[in-house]
Amino acid sequence: MRAYTPKDNVQAKAYYTDRFYVSPQVPRHDVSSDEVFAADLETISSKFTVNESYIEVGQMVVYINASDIYGVLELVRDELSYTQLTEMSAIDWLAKDNTFEIFYQMLSMTKRKRIRIKYSIQNGQAVDSVNKLFRSADWSEREMFDMFGIEANNHPFMKRILMPYDWQGHPLLKTYPLQGDEFAAWYEVDKIYGKEARDIIGPEIRDTANIDRYDSERFARLGFEQPKGTKITGDEEPTVQTYQEDGGVFLITKFDKDASKIVDDPQR
């Protein structure tokens, strides 16, 4: 395995440069500019605290308090006809202020509008499950737990959904290395053969270009195979590969390349 470089402050530094102009921020409009959204916001803010709200790319974004989420979603479902929870997950802002931002993307088929309900929680805090309101939250909340480690209270089956149950770590955290940590690198070897097999099986080869032309145990270019244990000089003669032995095969008609017809019409 390659040496592990700590990625604790990976969010603080830009690790790429934009090749094209990227507008610094999508413009935000006041909610009063759209009367449907303005009426919706009115209803929400009459019952719950709204910390911030704006319209971004034609969708209203509403920031609420974490403890209100069940009530707010019930309200927008039953009274404002946002009957579908199309997506929910978390955003990792741990490097900035040690918080996660949780978002719920709602769709109203009758109004043809989408709103996004958001709130922040501290690292380690749990959220309230909305599984009772929307069945689609069931797997989404499990995925959020799997990927970020955020638990949902009152969820009927709070277990990992994508990664194996015995996995360690939460892969969508920004601090999680893309190629896996030590646990991930040896996961299958440890689980199937045990830790003592690590030496025998060896580390993962992560360099996909690492192909030894004469490595006959793993890869060899077709026609350049060499028997195991041969000393490789580098200018080996090609070995002719045919799929039938010279003497022919028992009970099978000998394949004659010259007598065969090549079909070169792709529409045959």
Binding site: L178, A184, Y187, E188, K191, I200, T208, R218, I252
Partner: protein, 169 residues
């Protein structure tokens, strides 16, 4: 002794053939390579195409089976995730000897483009592999050629000798 005039030694009508045990066993083995249905990702589609009428695997005697206990060759066609790794080992162990493994496509060979935490970097980390097919995805012709090469490899065996069981370690 029968009185009719059948020439037994003529082509086609052969009720008797003289050969060695080696040849007949290897002929049987190599021409009825039943493959375990093992489509894991997009390569599985090419594997299915090889089995379907246009490429027609059946004429090689390769018939896909849905049970490892009826299969001789496991065609690992696709991305092997770490979550699935234990199951490929279990299915391999359930296959009866002699058994062979074809690793089909870049993903099964090396992890391919999935250079991530969740992909096994080559299925030969879990099970011993006989043949690697390059490509993403390999064409059905590649898979057929691979099966032909595997048949050749099987024919080189001595059927009378007990075969060494293949183990990764």
């Amino acid at each position: 002794m029968a009185q009719h005039k059948v020439n037994y030694t003529q082509d086609g009508g052969l009720p008797v053939a003289l050969t060695s045990i080696d040849k007949i066993v290897n002929w049987g083995r190599s021409n009825s390579l039943w493959a375990l249905t093992y489509g894991l990702a997009c390569c599985g589609i090419e594997m299915m195409a090889s089995g379907a009428s246009r490429f027609d695997f059946d004429r090689f005697g390769t018939i896909f089976r849905a049970s490892p206990r009826q299969a001789d060759v496991m065609i690992v066609a696709g991305t092997l995730t770490k979550k699935h790794a234990e199951f490929i080992k279990r299915l391999y162990d359930q296959m009866t000897e002699p058994r062979w493994v074809i690793s089909m496509g870049s993903c099964a060979n090396t992890g391919g483009m999935f250079n991530t935490y969740a992909t096994v970097q080559g299925c030969d980390r879990i099970i011993p592999v006989d043949l690697y097919l390059p490509g993403c995805a390999p064409r059905p012709e590649t898979l057929q050629y691979g099966v032909m090469l595997l048949q050749k490899k099987i024919r080189a065996n001595h059927a009378s000798k007990a075969q060494k069981a293949k183990r990764l370690m």
